[in-house]
Point group: C2
Chain length 184, copies 2
């Protein structure tokens, strides 16, 4: 496998984890471990509040100060119980969006993870043209990871690396309740 | 989502990440972050040497002492350049196997990751009946994660949670060389 160690600031990739299976956010989390191993600065922005589990949030704190973690957005619209009007969700997503853009432009990070951005977009919280504008502003040397099911076709077209996580089997199918350390 | 916080030593799951896409080992790595967030002890055993990248190995050390990491096995047989006779690979895989069994039986861990075990098995380094015997001895409260492409059918049948990572797009298709922090 070719290496670019001599070329530290080489091309940053646009990476998409999508599909209905488990492991999308978890794989993005795993990438933060690798990045921290290289002493890179990492920024994680959560577009949907509640999509991260307590263990993830406590665990990632052990990777500070290299990894910066921002809980933005509100709970899933229409997915988890939620009485909030759609406008509140849009405003929260807007704040996440503005922060993502600012962090991306800052040049301080080698890896930025926009967690559940594809879901936020599919729920109409981030509009397609905004989403495209955000991705278009990725600096050339930044690795940008976008997670969430239902990644739009244009994003898959743009991306350098796309993995679809397909659920082959889920414990719920066996009647097993959500398990600590796996589901939350 | 149901929680089992009151039931700390509840069922441990058998989790399989397979498929030809990127993100299998990375998702397993991400699970270690979550587990460390819960202050669990984690053991990672690498069945194929060289499948982990420098960044991953340096990064996971930041999660010590909760996470214990063992590089076992030799390089990929017939996948990477390799002059070693198959018997050397089998012996190395045997050591990894014995360690995995010992660690599993010790009861010290809540999460054990057997990285690339499915690949080691598909290359004939671990025989099917040994592989089955290993999985059969999983303690009820242990979360066991097995990664690697070509997971055998019986394992998928046995598992509680199976995600197939499918490569939709890889940077090599665009003529981009392997990137630090993503590929190694």
């Amino acid at each position: 496998m070719a290496k670019d160690e001599k070329n530290e600031k080489s091309k940053g990739l646009l990476i998409v984890y999508t599909g209905n299976g488990k492991g999308k956010t978890t794989a993005a989390l795993g990438m933060t471990i690798r990045a921290v191993g290289y002493d890179w600065k990492v920024c994680v922005i959560q577009f949907i509040k509640g999509s991260w589990k307590y263990g993830e949030m406590d665990g990632i704190k052990k990777l500070e100060p290299n990894v910066e973690f921002h809980v933005m957005g509100e709970g899933f619209v229409g997915i988890i119980d939620d009485d909030k009007p759609i406008e509140e969700h849009r405003q929260a997503a807007r704040k996440a969006y503005d922060l993502a853009l600012e962090k991306m432009k800052s040049g301080r990070y080698r890896l930025i993870i926009m967690d559940e951005l594809s879901v936020a977009a599919s729920l109409g919280l981030v509009f397609p043209d905004e989403f495209k504008k955000l991705v278009a502003q990725k600096p050339a040397d930044l690795h940008l990871v976008i997670t969430g099911r239902r990644a739009p076709d244009w994003l898959i077209e743009e991306a350098d690396l796309v993995t679809e996580m397909t659920e082959i089997k889920h414990p719920y199918q066996k009647g097993i309740l959500a398990q600590k350390g796996v589901d939350f």
